[in-house]
Symmetry: C2
Subunit: 348 residues, 2 copies
């Protein structure tokens, strides 16, 4: 963070908005009107619009002790775009609303927006509006992302059929392990501020929690290979929870093979350091922002061409339930043990 | 509020979303996919999409000591729709994100959503998605509203021409007076909880702050009478601040006649009880959610047909500045003294 500190109050609300959006360039031909009016205007040329929204609250979704603001801004956009890719849509626009307290300087906000704009640039998305207001305590970020899709080409959670193959992109559980590492270093630092953080050889897992990348590449690959998933969801709450969503919305059951779940070597090794089972981290960890989807069996050969996609199971009748087949050959009912915002919360 | 209390934790995040959206019916033919997937899908039939977003934070934008949750939900939608009407757009969809702490019961959230759905019903808008998460402290509401407009029929802040007439709907300053009344009753209550609130004959002003109505009727009226404003903005921060926005964005100056500013009798009387100048309340009070717009002089005769619209001044060259002509015949520079979120905030 910069040494300089400009009080937010010195700019005023409108000055702050001007400041934060002065370098905001629109990239989409359809952006007729962007930041600076009551609302934004988008022309659609006959395509369908897809909209998603996510709120991130300090102390709940992120801890500023170990989250650089630039990464936070990038991640806030990334997790919304991930929801759009999970519909097979192409992100086009975002709105960003921020609630901040006076403890943030303009320089700190600039860092946050640097990350926001970096993600917008990378994924070719226009920032078209938002709201900036003060909060009594803590940072609040609320983002709405808008995308487009050719008529009726979007993919929902409800289209999986019996026999469809269950697939997932990338690998799972790393973000959860990254979070454990950051929490451990925070505890050590709070006990002894002289100790330097020890995150050597942990770049992959820490990177996964701090700077997740939405899988635009998977959507392009599927399109290029003419594979239309029958159902899809992004992995934000943990594999178990997301599989159960697909099963419930599609009214199907499934078999998930433990041995097929993709887990990075660094995740496995670090999980063991924490006495955690790597499979449990993948099933319940969350924040991976990979794509979980089902395809028709006839697409199996094509799917194997991608090193970024693993076939991890298949869909069954709903009456058979959602099951995990372990490496030891046992069958367990899948249960959602992912992040539950409300039961873990302290009373306040 | 209901006597019953169901812990939010007992429902879980997904149970809570199901609970809050179980009665959510879509009304727009273009709503292809609504709540319950990664994102919502809207078909546009070749019309242009207009998007706006607003965040409301407890302790900054509302005080739950005197704001019924149902009214708050209604208002949260209303202020977003007001931004769309200020573009001459027709609202079609909203997303609602909520951050809540455990001190809220499910019944309390139901009340909030009752207001949200009441506003959606009244203005024929679909709630198509959102996010619900826990907050460490305080209620956070973030809404994105989407509307449509026939190609290139939207009205911006930047189209005012020299000689155009400056108009405003309804009356101004009442919401600010309503807020003063509620704050006064809160102070009295905190000093002596036995005293009953005295808001007799204050229904209009108190109603204006608690349950503002976006001016859909004005947009319909203008359309029916074939009047297209040359520029428009909604009055959220006070008349002065909004006039200065129109002047700045249109690169014009203006003359505003103090005697023409519409102020309700109850506002005038109550302002005097508080030793406040009614004109100052109108200029700097804010939260009126009326429409401020400019029209061509040739539309003057038609505008006088509406009892809901006042002509309050006219636009000049930018070099002449934005001026208030007082009842006493003096000319003052207009300055924005409206709500400034940052300079009035306490350090935290």
């Amino acid at each position: 963070m910069s040494e300089e500190r400009t009080d937010i109050a010195s700019l005023g609300e409108f000055g702050l908005i001007d400041h934060l959006t002065k370098n905001n360039e629109t990239k989409q031909a359809g952006t007729l009107l962007s930041v600076g009016d009551d609302a934004a205007v988008i022309d659609h040329f006959g395509r369908q619009t897809v909209i998603t929204t996510d709120m991130l609250l300090e102390g709940i979704h992120f801890d500023l002790m170990y989250t650089p603001l630039k990464h936070l801004g990038y991640k806030a956009i990334a997790v919304n775009l991930s929801d759009l890719y999970a519909m097979c849509a192409t992100p086009t626009h975002v709105t960003v609303s921020i609630g901040i307290s006076n403890r943030f300087s303009v320089e700190a906000l600039d860092e946050l927006y640097e990350g926001i704009y970096a993600a917008c640039d990378k994924f070719n998305v226009d920032l078209i509006g938002g709201d900036t207001c003060s909060s009594q305590k803590g940072l609040v970020i609320s983002i709405t992302a808008i995308g487009e899709v050719a008529p009726d080409k979007y993919v929902t959670r409800s289209g999986a059929q019996k026999g469809d193959l269950l697939c997932v992109s990338g690998d799972l559980g790393a973000a959860y392990i990254g979070l454990q590492l950051l929490e451990r270093e925070k505890r050590i630092y709070l006990e002894n501020p002289g100790v330097q953080p020890d995150l050597q050889n942990k770049a992959y897992t820490v990177g996964r929690i701090l700077k997740p990348e939405p899988r635009a590449d998977i959507i392009s690959w599927l399109e290029k290979h003419d594979i239309k998933p029958t159902s899809m969801i992004d992995v934000s709450d943990g594999l178990s929870s997301e599989i159960l969503h697909l099963c419930k919305n599609s009214d199907k059951g499934c078999i998930l093979y433990e041995e097929k779940i993709p887990i990075h070597d660094e995740t496995k090794e670090t999980a063991l350091e924490f006495n955690l089972d790597p499979t449990t981290c993948a099933l319940s960890g969350g924040e991976d922002y990979e794509l979980l989807f089902t395809i028709k069996q006839e697409d199996y050969e094509k799917i194997t061409l991608s090193e970024q996609i693993s076939v991890i199971g298949y869909m069954t009748e709903a009456s058979e339930g959602a099951n995990l087949l372990t490496k030891g050959g046992n069958k367990h009912k899948l249960i959602a043990q992912g992040w539950n915002a409300f039961s873990t919360e302290k009373n306040s």
